[in-house]
Symmetry: C2
Subunit: 102 residues, 2 copies
DNA sequence: CGGCATCCTTCTGGATACTG
DNA sequence: CAGTATCCAGAAGGATGCCG
C-alpha cells in the first residue's frame, strides 16, 4: 500500500513538523528548528533529522565557522511533500476548531 | 502548529492506512479491513478504529445479524482527508520507486 | 464475526550531562 | 553551536486465547 510506504518515512512524533518548518524557511539551523518546534528535545530533533536525511528528504550542510554552523533544507524530493503538508495543515486547523469548539 | 494538531489524531502505525481503505470502499467490515491491511493485528485494528471513532473521523454501525455484522465508514469530516491521502499516496508510490531503485 | 484480556518484548522519548 | 551518551519510564504493539 502506497500510503504505508509514505508513512514509513514520515512516522515519528516530529517528522511532519520538521518538514513543515523547512517548507516555510527553506534553509534552517539546528537550534532554530529546536525553537520553532515547541516541546521537541535536541535528542529527538537530532534523531529525526538523521532519519530524514537517510531517506533523502533533507540535506545537511556544515559551514566551518567557529563554532560550526549547520543548515538543513528540503531536497527537491522532500519539497514534493509541500502540497501534502499544506492540505494536512488546513485540515488540522479545522480540526482544532472542531475539537476546541470554536 | 496546525500540522501537529492533525498528526495528533492521525498518529499510530495504521490510522492512515485505515482511512485510506475507507476512502476506497466507503463502507467496510472489520474482518475485511483486517485483510486489506497487510500486517495489522486485530488488537491494533480494534484500538485504532476506536480512536478514529472518538475523534469523529469514522462511524461504527452494528447490524444485529447472527453473528453480528459491523460496518465502518468515514464521516463527512473524515472524508475531507481524501485529498491528503491522495497526495500522500502518490508521493508514496514515487518514494517506493526511488528506494527500490526502479 | 468482531472484538476484549493478558502477557511480554521492543520502541519511544524525556531529562540530564558531556564534547569538539 | 550542534550535537552525542546514558539512564530510565512508559507507550506501542505482537501473539495467543477467550467470549457473546
Amino acid at each position: 500500500m502506497a500510503v504505508h510506504d509514505a508513512m514509513d518515512v514520515l512516522s515519528g512524533k516530529w517528522k511532519i513538523s520538521i518538514i513543515s518548518v523547512l517548507c516555510y524557511h527553506n534553509k534552517r539551523r539546528f537550534s532554530d528548528i529546536l525553537n520553532d518546534i515547541k516541546g521537541i528535545s535536541n535528542k529527538m530533533l537530532s534523531k529525526e533529522l538523521k532519519e530524514l536525511e537517510i531517506n533523502k528528504l533533507i540535506t545537511r550542510t556544515v559551514f566551518d565557522t567557529q563554532p560550526v554552523t549547520v543548515y538543513y533544507e528540503l531536497t527537491e524530493y522532500g519539497l514534493k511533500l509541500q502540497s501534502v503538508i499544506k492540505h494536512l495543515s488546513a485540515w488540522g486547523t479545522e480540526h482544532r476548531k472542531k475539537i476546541m469548539g470554536r
